[in-house]
Amino acid sequence: MGYLQSFIRQFRARLFLIILINNALIVADWYIVDQVVKLTGLWALLAISAMPLITLGVIPWLSTNILVQPTKFLWQAILHIAPHTTNDVGAPKLEQLHLGRELVTNLINQVYQLASVVQGVEQSNASPSQDLHTNFVASSLPLPLLVLDKAETIVYANESTSKYLGKPAEELIGQNAYTALDMSFRSDDTLASWLKTSKGKVVTANHKWERVRIGLPGQGDSLLFDLAGYYNRDNPLGYETLLILFDHTEVYAQDDQAMSFVALSVHELRTPLTLLRGYIEVFDEELGPTLNPELKAFMKKMDASAQQLAAFVDNILNVAKIEDNQLTLQLHEENWPNVIETVVRDLSLRAGVRGITIKTDIAADLPPVGVDRYSIYEVLANLLDNAIKYSNGTDEIYVSARLNKEGLVETSVKDFGLGIDGSILPHIFDKFYRNHRNRAQIGGTGLGLYLSKAIVNAHGGQIMVSSKVSEGSTFTFTVLPFTQLADAGKAGATPSVTRNAHGWIKNHSLYRD
C-alpha cells in the first residue's frame, strides 16, 4: 500500500508541476507580449493567440513523457512475456523509470511471476509424464503401466515397467508403442485392432487380452502377460490409452508344463492306437470273409478293445483338462436324437461282442439342445460303456430321451445287470472311485463317471443314478434346450456359447456365473 500512496503522491506532484509550468508559460507569454515587447493591435492579438498553441504542445508532451511512463513500462512487461507476439518487445529498463518506480517494479514482478505459473501449467499439459510422475499411485503401482497418446506413442511408463521389461521407463517414452514393445497376441484381437475399432466410435472402452507375449526388440526373453486396456477419447491430458500389464509368465508356464506332459502322453498313446485300429480294419475288411466265426468274433473284440482304449485316452485327457480348468466347451445347437444315435452306433460293436443289444426310445418332440458334441459324446459313451461292463450276462441296454417337467432334455441309460449297493451310490461320481466288490472282475479306472458328471455340469445339466443290486442301474442326465441355454448364458443371437467346467466363458475370458 505504501507503494501506491507514494506513487499517487508523486503523480499528484508531477501533475501539479505540469499545470504550474503550463500556467507559468501562459503568464510569461502574456508578460512578454504586454510589458517586454509591448505589442499592440493586431500583433498583440497574434502573439497572445500563440498561448493555447504552446499549451497544446507542452502539456501532452510532458504528460506522456512523465505521467504515462509507469503505464508504458507495465504494458512493455506484459507484451514482453505475452505468447504469440510477433514484434520483439524487450524487457522494460526499470532504471529509466522515475515516477512510481517501486510500485511499477512490484507490479512488473507480479506479471512475470504470473506468467511463469501459466507457463508451468502449459508445460505440464504438453508433457503428461510430469504430472504422472508426481502421481504416487501410478509410480508405485507394482504392475507395469503405460500411457499412450493419440498417435499411440508412449507418453508415460511407470517404474514397474522397467522392472518387468528390463529397460528404463524413460527410454520407452516418446517411442511408438508397437515398435517399443514386441507384442504378440493369440488371435486377430490385438491392441491395434481394438484401438482401430474404438477410435472415433466410442468415448471410452475397456478390453482385456490373455497370454500376450511381450518382449523388447533386441532382447531374447519375452514374458506372458494379461493385458488390460482403457481407452478414453480426447482425454484433455493426452492420456488416450492406458495399458496395465499383468505378468502371468509363471502361471502360464506351469499350466503349459502340466498340460504338455498329458498332451505328450496322449500323443504317444494315440499313435500306436491309430495304427492298431488301422490294421484291425484292414484285416477285418480283407481277411474277415475268410475267417471262421470264432476268429471273426476275436477280430471284433480286438477292434472293440482298441476303441475302448482310444476312449480311455480321451478320458485321461479330459480329466487333466478339467483339473486344469482347461476344459472349454463350445455349446452348439444340435439335434439330440442324432447325437444319441451316433454314440449308440459306435458303441454297438463293443456291446455286440458281449452279446448285448442297445435299444433306443427317443421322444419325437425333443427341441434342439445346446451341447458340445465331442464332450457330450463322451458322457453317453461312458455311461453306455459302464452299462455294457456291468450288464453281467443280461443282453439289453435301453437308451431313452424325453423332455422333462422342467423343460430339460433328460436322457437315461438303463441296464439290467449287477446294480449298485445303496451304501456306495453317493460316491460313484468321485474321482477314482471303484466298487471294491467287483474291482477284480471288471476293468476300469474310476474316471468315467467323474468325468461325465463334470461334463454334464459344465453343460448346465445334472446327472443322477438310481440302482438296485441285481436289478440294474439307470443313469440319467439332463441337458438344456438350446433356446434356454442361450438365455442362461446371455448369448443372445450368437450361434454358440463357450463354457468351461467352472462357469461361463465369453470372448475367451472367463466369467463365473
Binding site: H267, R270, T271, L273, R277, E285
Partner: protein, 132 residues
Amino acid sequence: MDSGTTPTTPKRVLCIEDEHFISELYARALTKAGYQVDVQLDGQKGLAVAQTDVYDIILLDLMIPNITGIEVLRTLRDPRQTPKMHAKIIITTNLEQREDVRADIEQQADGYLVKAEITPRELVEFLSHLDA
C-alpha cells in the same frame, strides 16, 4: 476343384505325415478308394511340394519334422506366400491342443481329425463328403 464330376481324373491327395506306418495305411485306403496319393514324411519338403504341385486334398499332420504343421498351414493359407491354393486342407493329428488353439487351427483348415479316433475307412468316408 472340380468335385468329382469327371471320374476319369482321380483326385490327388498329398499326405504330409512323418509316421510312416500311418501314411502307409492312409495311402493304401485312399488308393483303393480311387485317389492318387503322394506322401511326404518331412514338413519342409511337404510344404514345398504343396506349394508347387496341384492337389485336391492335403492331409496335414501337426507334429512333423523341420517345421510345424501349423506353420505349414499358415503358409499355405497366406495368399502372398502361396498364391494359388485350391486344395482342401485337412488336419490329421494325435496332438492335443488347447481348445482355443484348436479353434484357431480349425478355422484355417477345412477339417480337423484326431487320427486315433478314426480308421482309414472313416477317413475315406470323411473325404468323400468334403465337397458334397
